[in-house]
């Protein structure tokens, strides 16, 4: 499939000074613990998980020395955008620069880096400083193996969720409008809406909405919040490319899940912020282009975005 991402491809809409600029979801790419693309999703994620709590997604192998220190979450974000561009014949030059917006969403993909940073301190030798001992956090309760997976204090910048979006921006030369939202599927609806606002306001020519979720390193922590996240937890990275187009988006707060939300959860499992993008991919796979409605729920709040002509 080939996608055009310049303003000409949108019939010149990007240069029209009117609030009536619509949007189109030009492309969506999905990587999950089940495999690459929605074709890899099982019909029933719960059954396919066969009791496993987490369906992991491997660490992508990316060329370049600068990825040596990057976390798995960062690499998954880069891999998702790279796959989106390659699968849709969009060159990196076409998105490089300040005309492409990047909005990154995650519910908990910073968890692994944060946990590693905390654990790294708790298992360090006592000789580092007598004053470093903190009440309640001792060596005994934490595994050396887990601590050994971290890079040390200079790992700190990677504890920020902005590191993941930052790595993507560096890799693809994105210097345009930039947003990072933290939350589950509802936050991705917010991000998609933000992208439509940026496009409608002429603040960018195209927008990438990227979501990454990893769970494996924090499986113990997620196991404690059973009321917040369902099973199986499926690691995922997904990216949508939005461009000016003919569809107009309405942002809403529906009480009930859309059919797409239900379908995405049934087939993919719990993917938190990636779920609405998986739903979009399923809709496109089903031929829905003129009318799409996606919803997402997190912590009792459900948001919806409805594209209509």
């Amino acid at each position: 499939m080939s996608v055009s991402v310049g303003p000409q491809a949108a019939g010149g809409n990007a240069a029209t000074p009117t609030a009536a600029i619509g949007t189109t979801v030009a492309a969506v790419t999905v990587l999950t613990g089940w495999g690459h693309g929605i074709g890899a999703l099982p019909a029933d994620a719960t059954r396919a998980a066969a009791g496993r709590a987490v369906i992991p997604l491997g660490r992508p192998t990316l060329e370049g020395d600068r990825f040596r220190r990057a976390t798995r979450e960062c690499l998954l974000g880069v891999a998702a955008v790279d796959a989106l561009l390659r699968e849709n014949d969009v060159s990196r030059d076409a998105v490089r620069g300040s005309s492409t917006a990047l909005i990154y969403v995650t519910g908990g993909a910073y968890g692994a880096s944060n946990q590693a940073f905390v654990v790294a301190e708790s298992v360090r030798p006592a000789s580092v400083g007598a004053g470093s001992a903190r009440p309640g956090l001792t060596e005994g309760g934490l595994s050396e193996k887990r601590a050994g997976s971290v890079a040390g204090p200079l790992h700190f910048p990677y504890t920020a969720p902005s590191a993941m979006a930052g790595e993507v921006a560096i890799e693809f030369g994105l210097t345009g409008p930039y947003g990072i939202l933290i939350g589950g599927a509802a936050a991705t609806i917010d991000a998609l809406w933000q992208a439509t606002r940026l496009l409608a306001g002429g603040r960018c020519e195209r927008a990438l909405v990227l979501a990454v979720e990893t769970f494996e390193e924090c499986a113990d922590l997620y196991a404690r919040g059973r009321w917040l996240v369902r099973r199986p937890l499926v690691e995922a990275a997904a990216c949508a490319l939005l461009v000016p187009g003919a569809l107009h988006a309405r942002y809403d707060a529906p009480r009930a899940p859309s059919a797409l939300e239900t379908l995405a959860r049934a087939r993919a499992g719990e993917t938190l912020a990636c779920a609405p993008l998986i739903a979009l991919a399923l809709a496109r796979d089903g031929g829905a282009t003129a009318s799409i409605g996606v919803t997402g729920e997190w912590r009792g709040r459900r948001a919806g975005l409805y594209w209509r002509q």
Binding site: A14, A15, Q115, G131, G136, G141, Y178, I182, A200, G225
Partner: protein, 396 residues
């Protein structure tokens, strides 16, 4: 920005604000502390720091108890709820709960709870509290807000981005009232991280000074009540005319050497406000006091504002508070509007010998009598995050 035609954004009213900072328990203490040159930096007492190179910061020593003896959960939530009490003492949130949104910026969220969750015997509620968006949901519950609840994670630029997204929610009719702002609590996690990066100074914080040697961290929460222009009668703080964010695409932990992202954000925010550098009366700079940030920021301001750069007063309030991370940009936006209302611009504490490489019209030594109508506020953060706000004073 070739190929991009912008729309003028509808101005958004900033009706009232609330804050808790190292300078005091409310907005009045924040403002009077800035004007009188108070120093909110002290030795950190709430957690161990004696193994760190630097153990000072802008720590809030005492929080007022919440009404009714309510418990607030983690430190970050405590700060947010304290700021909310201050805000609610100044303004009434009058909208249907479903039409009230909460948009908060943070660099750390509830991360201090992660340390508790990972400790032996850590409890499930600590694990959930460790999520970045837990404090925002706690604030929404306190306010009875049932509209959108968004947590913005653009690191130390998040407070500005939160105000910008809040404005977009109002412009897009997704809410009638938005409580927006930012927060972050000082904790060992972040102190240890910045200490390891050698970003913290052992000396005084000196933004734009030739002797500047680094930043100190602080904790705070700052909130503003936002509505569509004209939706609420009575006095207001001012208006948000423009906002923009941009990525550097350069480095994870350092600003772009050429300040490309910040320059884009400044120009785009002015563009959205349909203003030019000639309209700007005051700049609230990010001004962390690190050698790199201040030089790059000064260069960006000189490029973006052109000849006007040497005529526009510039300040930084980070020496007084420490770098309050997610709260910083919201506090600085509030400071801009208070400066307009009170007719005085706070000076940059710690700046005594301006660095020629940071040549701007710095407010040095004492507050400056001025009543800026249009203010520009700039912010940067880890991950190459940049944001700019253009604010207008309330009509007198």
């Amino acid at each position: 920005m070739p190929g991009v035609t912008r729309l003028r954004a509808e101005p958004i009213s900033l009706v009232a604000a609330g804050a808790v900072t190292p300078l005091g328990a409310d907005l009045d203490a924040f403002w009077s502390g800035l004007v009188t040159g108070s120093d909110g930096i002290s030795m950190i007492e709430r957690f161990p720091v004696d193994d760190l190179r630097v153990g000072r910061g802008g720590e809030i020593k005492k929080l007022r108890p919440l009404p009714g003896g309510r418990r607030a959960g983690c430190r970050a939530t405590q700060l947010l709820l304290a700021a909310a009490e201050d805000l609610l003492a100044r303004a009434v949130v009058s909208a249907e709960p479903e039409r009230v949104a909460v948009v908060l910026g943070t660099a750390l969220g509830g991360v201090e709870q992660l340390e508790r969750a990972l400790a032996p015997g850590g409890r499930p509620r600590h694990a959930v509290g460790a999520l970045y968006d837990s404090p925002a949901h706690a604030l929404a519950r306190r306010l009875g807000a049932r509209g959108p609840v968004l947590t913005v994670g653009t690191a130390c630029a998040a407070g500005a981005t939160a105000l910008g997204i809040g404005a977009d929610l109002l412009r897009g009719d997704a809410a009638d009232v938005v409580i927006a702002g930012g927060y972050d609590a000082l904790c060992r996690f972040v102190m240890r991280g910045f200490d390891a990066l050698r970003s913290l100074t052992r000396e005084r914080v000196r933004p734009f000074d030739r002797r500047r040697s680094g930043l100190l961290l602080g904790e705070a929460a700052a909130l503003v009540l936002m509505t569509r222009d004209g939706a609420m009668s009575g006095p207001k703080l001012g208006r948000l005319l423009g906002h923009a964010s941009a990525s550097d695409g350069s480095h994870i932990a350092a600003p772009d050497p050429n300040g490309r992202g910040l320059e884009f954000a400044v120009r785009a925010a002015l563009d959205e406000a349909e203003l030019t550098p000639a309209d700007v009366d005051f700049v609230s700079a990010h001004g962390t006091g690190t050698p790199l940030n201040d030089r790059i920021e000064a260069e960006v301001l000189r490029r973006a504002l052109g000849r006007r750069a040497s005529e526009i007063p510039v300040n930084s309030i980070k020496a007084a508070l420490g770098h309050t991370m997610g709260a910083a940009a919201a506090l600085e936006a509030i400071m801009c509007l208070l400066a307009s209302r009170e007719g005085v611009v706070p000076y940059t504490l710690g700046l005594e010998e301006p660095d020629p490489a940071c040549d701007l019209d710095h407010v040095v030594g004492s507050p400056r009598a001025a009543r800026p109508r249009i203010s520009l506020s700039t912010s940067l953060g880890f991950g190459g995050c940049n944001a700019a706000l253009v604010l207008e004073a309330a009509e007198s």
